[in-house]
């Protein structure tokens, strides 16, 4: 029983953390959306990436690419817009993921892990992960493609596919939702047994 109390306290702490993440995602999604509108209204000529001796880019988070030759001034607006739109979509998906997760943690804290709504929450999270498995790599590829095109970086192309980790996680969450739906039925049977 002591372990269960510790477990509930942990769930309570995590619930607060996830709620903070949720609101942070909402705020960041909003800021990115506003930034998109703001950048869209700014003339392209105002957002210039000037000539530089070298520019260090990380195109995929792993490989760093140095542009050693001086660049002629180029408008960075398309790249910024792509980054902001992708980020806005990404943070929105994160917010949609954190909200049901916070709900689940709250029910665990209240000692009702098999509440009826948790199966629906897990289903929602699974669907969001499946959508994210397509959108995540697409957004990243779009940003990289914009950078390559805008900066005219030679001999680099973009390749993208499904995010397998997110795809598998999404499928597992959908299976878990089915397990929790059965658990909810069993809980209901126990609760209505005297």
């Amino acid at each position: 029983m002591v372990k269960q109390e510790k477990f509930k306290r942990l769930a309570g702490s995590l619930h607060i953390v996830i709620k903070v993440f949720f609101w942070a995602s909402v705020v960041l999604a909003g800021l990115c959306a506003l930034g998109t509108v703001a950048i869209a209204l700014v003339p392209a000529g105002k957002i210039i990436l000037g000539s530089t001796e070298s520019l260090l880019l990380t195109l995929d988070g792993v490989i760093r690419y140095r542009l050693d030759s001086a660049l002629s001034p180029v408008s960075f607006k398309p790249v910024l817009l792509t980054i902001l739109v992708s980020s806005s979509i990404g943070f929105s998906l994160l917010a949609l993921l954190f909200r049901p997760l916070a709900g689940i943690l709250k029910t665990v804290k209240e000692d009702q892990p098999f509440a009826a709504r948790n199966a629906d929450r897990l289903t929602a999270m699974g669907v969001i992960m499946l959508i994210g498995s397509v959108l995540a790599n697409t957004a990243q590829a779009a940003v990289v493609y914009m950078m390559i095109t805008t900066l005219a970086i030679p001999n680099i192309d973009v390749n993208f596919g499904l995010n397998i980790t997110m795809l598998l996680t999404g499928l597992l969450l959908l299976i878990l939702a089915g397990v929790f739906r059965y658990g909810s039925y069993l809980q209901d049977e126990v609760d209505s047994t005297l």
Binding site: E189, S192, T193, L194
Partner: protein
Amino acid sequence: MPIITRLDRMLADRKMPLNELADKVCISVVNLSNLKTGKVKAIRFSTLEAICKALACQPGDILEFQEDDAK
């Protein structure tokens, strides 16, 4: 539901209020009330034993089977 409880009848016969029975069988008044009004889906033998002991009766005095009218 075909199985109905006659708990209210037994309580009246024994002149026992519901909360007294709840104390004797260590079940909340809410749950006993649910049993009385037929909102309970199942009852454990241990609970039935405790109620029968408290009311000095047989299970058949509390539970009754009635065929569904729809059938």
